[in-house]
């Protein structure tokens, strides 16, 4: 497989930095009481979403999870609209009606963050089925967590995708914890990827904090899917900096784990590699950092200044059409 092209690297870094900035800011805004509801942050897992989505176009699909901001940003969903959505504002991605857990942009191929763990597997099979029946070369990525790996829907979906040879890539983001329950406790397998054997598909374990490793594995899996050879399971081992949701005190993390995280930071790793190999200059990286900060600042400002949806929005968008409505 070809290594990620040098031209693509600034885009890749920018996406990762945007995710990190977005999430750090979302944590702050939640703590300040400005973002209501449940917020699940992706910081620490940036290399997975970006490493995979770097290989996709708008016409390819992804299904996401409750921890979906990173997937959105990697897939090109408008960041200002995302921030407005977190605030519940009218000009959010979903007109403020979805919130953090349901951000979606079907036109960008983003079929929704999802509040139900493991629910994306069947939906990804469906998007794959559309591509197969319409004979397009679209591929669908199903991002799911190590917690979702224990849901029946994921087992059913991997089996279905395999027997139907659907152009779907299952990307397990193993951040070590299903909410607060560690992987070794909830998963009977050594690695989630071991299960690929049972579904007769290739399975790989990669370092989910190494963008280049993720990208290489995804490149092979996506090419296989586009060739009509069926699904692949990639397990990306990573970690998350924040808790399951904001407000989680993270008492289950040991000090050793936290120290280890710093050493595995996906952005630091990326920077070290590209600078060592002189693929991007330090100045260029700093320029991207500054731009990312500005983008997030502007998004927050817009969200602050934007109006809430009109109250009649409560009643709209339930159906495309509905003839009679109960009082």
């Amino acid at each position: 497989m070809a290594e990620i092209s040098k031209d693509k690297l600034p885009w890749v870094y920018e996406r990762m930095r945007l995710i990190r900035e977005f999430e750090n800011r979302a944590a702050k805004l939640f703590a300040e009481g400005k973002v209501p509801g449940f917020v699940h942050l992706y910081a620490g897992e940036e290399a997975i979403a970006v490493g995979v989505c770097a290989l996709l176009s708008d016409s390819d699909y992804i299904t996401s999870t409750h921890r979906g901001h990173g997937h959105c940003i990697a897939k090109g969903v408008d960041i200002k609209e995302m921030m407005c959505e977190l605030y519940g504002k009218k000009n959010g991605s979903c007109n403020g009606k979805g919130g953090s857990m349901h951000i979606a942009d079907v036109d960008k191929g983003m079929l929704g963050a999802n509040g139900i763990v493991g629910a994306g597997g069947p939906l990804a099979c469906g998007a794959g089925l559309t591509a197969k029946i319409k004979e397009t070369d679209q591929v669908t990525i199903c991002f799911f967590g190590d917690g979702a790996a224990e849901q029946g829907t994921m087992h059913e979906s991997m089996n279905l995708a395999s027997i139907w040879k659907l152009p779907v890539v299952f990307v397990c983001e193993n951040n070590g914890y299903a909410e607060t329950t560690p992987s070794f406790y909830h998963c009977a397998a050594e690695d989630v990827a071991d299960r690929a054997t049972a579904y007769n598909m290739p399975g790989f374990v990669v370092d989910g904090t190494d963008l280049f490793a993720v990208h290489e594995a995804a490149d092979e899996a996506i090419a296989r899917a586009r060739r009509g050879e069926g699904p692949t399971l990639i397990e990306c081992k990573a970690f998350r900096y924040y808790g399951h949701f904001e407000g989680d005190n993270m008492s289950y993390y040991t000090e050793e784990e936290q120290a280890e995280q710093k050493a595995r930071d996906p952005l630091d790793k990326f920077i070290k590699r590209v600078v060592d190999r002189k693929l991007i200059s330090t100045e260029k990286l700093e320029e991207i950092d500054a731009r990312a900060k500005t983008v997030i600042d502007e998004a927050v400002q817009l969200a602050e200044d934007s109006p809430y949806p009109d109250l009649d929005e409560v009643m709209t968008d339930v159906y495309v059409s509905y003839q009679e409505v109960m009082p």
Binding site: V106, P122, A124, C125, G126, L160, D317, V318
Partner: protein, 339 residues
């Protein structure tokens, strides 16, 4: 147009066939919708079953196994895949073999298909029909006989259709397939072999439009699905005693044609609702509430409901027969309203 007598089963099959011919985006998927994907049958272009009770027989011959897809017994995966396919450009018809199996895939129906459009601020549509067998009287026991349309009617984002005759089975299904929302289409087990006149061509029956099956002056009887024919039998009995019953078949439960029901109640001043579902939080009670809230001043007596009891469906034939609402129970309920 030519009209001939065919069964409810054939009417459903014909609706699917016509729509699959008309629109290549329409596909059919479910457990054994063709059946027998084995070489000796494939060579002959045959299927083993064509659905557990033969409703989809013959479709795989015409449309092939790409568009008529047998699924594994993984209701969550294939109902969810149908939702995903609908949101990305196909118009799937997914068969949930028996409605009692809703419990194994409800998340995909309720949290995914039913809420996606709303959660996404109107930026998605789910043109999906979930066909499912329901109803008691088939000696199929507690896990293959429930009605459950009240459950789906309760849920925003779903449309619920309960055809009662071959004619409306075809027209409502064609409308469901062309509709851009998620439709739960309920096929009554006992009605599959019932027959009636059905035009050969395609036609649609709109949602939210009740049918006045029998006009009458004295009592409105709203009857759903198989209960329509029971209500008609009861009406014939009651006519002998000079009680003139108006039978209204809602045809769709979500949306519900409230105005036709209310107009009928305002005319007859009495209401009986016949519903094969369990009685608590039911469509029957919903319709009584509608009349109580919007036509109270017109009512001359308390509305009555004739429903199944608050129990699962029993297996033993005499017990099952006692469980199902009957024409005799409808007659008794109507008499209570005119007493």
């Amino acid at each position: 147009m030519t009209t001939r007598t065919i069964t409810y089963r054939e009417a459903i099959n014909e609706a699917i066939r016509l729509e699959m011919r008309r629109d290549p985006a329409v596909i059919l998927m479910g457990e054994d919708v063709a059946g027998g994907a084995v070489t000796h049958l494939e060579k002959k272009g045959e299927e083993a079953w064509g659905g557990v009770l033969g409703v989809t027989k013959g479709l795989v011959q015409e449309f092939g196994r790409s568009r008529v897809r047998d699924t594994p017994i993984s209701e969550s995966a294939f109902i969810g895949a149908a939702v995903g396919a609908a949101s990305t450009g196909l118009r799937p018809i997914a068969e949930l073999m028996f409605v009692d199996f809703f419990g194994v895939c409800m998340d995909q129906i309720y949290n995914q298909g039913g809420k996606m459009r709303y959660m996404f601020g109107g930026k998605a549509k789910i043109p999906l029909v979930i066909r499912t067998l329901y109803g008691a009287g088939f000696r199929a026991a507690a896990q293959h006989s429930a009605v459950l349309y009240s459950v789906f009617t309760h849920m925003p984002g779903l449309k619920v259709v309960a055809p009662s005759t071959p004619y409306n089975a075809k027209g409502l299904l064609i409308n469901a397939i062309r509709d851009d929302d998620l439709v739960i289409y309920l096929e009554h087990l006992v009605l599959l072999d019932s027959s009636g006149p059905v035009p050969e061509n395609d036609y649609v029956i709109p949602f939210g439009k009740a049918e006045i099956v029998r006009p009458g002056r004295d009592v409105t009887v709203v009857a759903i699905g198989r209960m329509r024919s029971f209500a008609m039998q009861a009406a014939e009995e009651l006519a002998k005693e000079s009680i003139d019953v108006e039978v209204v078949d809602p045809q769709t439960l979500s949306p519900l044609d409230e105005s036709t029901i209310l107009e009928s109640v305002k005319k007859t001043h009495r209401l009986v609702v016949v519903d094969e579902d369990n009685p608590r939080c039911s469509v029957a009670n919903d319709i009584v509430t509608l009349a109580a809230q919007q036509a109270f001043a017109y009512l001359d007596s308390a509305p009555r409901t004739v429903t199944a009891p608050h129990t699962p469906v029993p297996f033993s034939p005499p017990l099952e027969d006692a469980y199902i609402p009957s024409p005799a129970k409808i007659v008794a309920a109507v008499k209570e309203t005119v007493a």
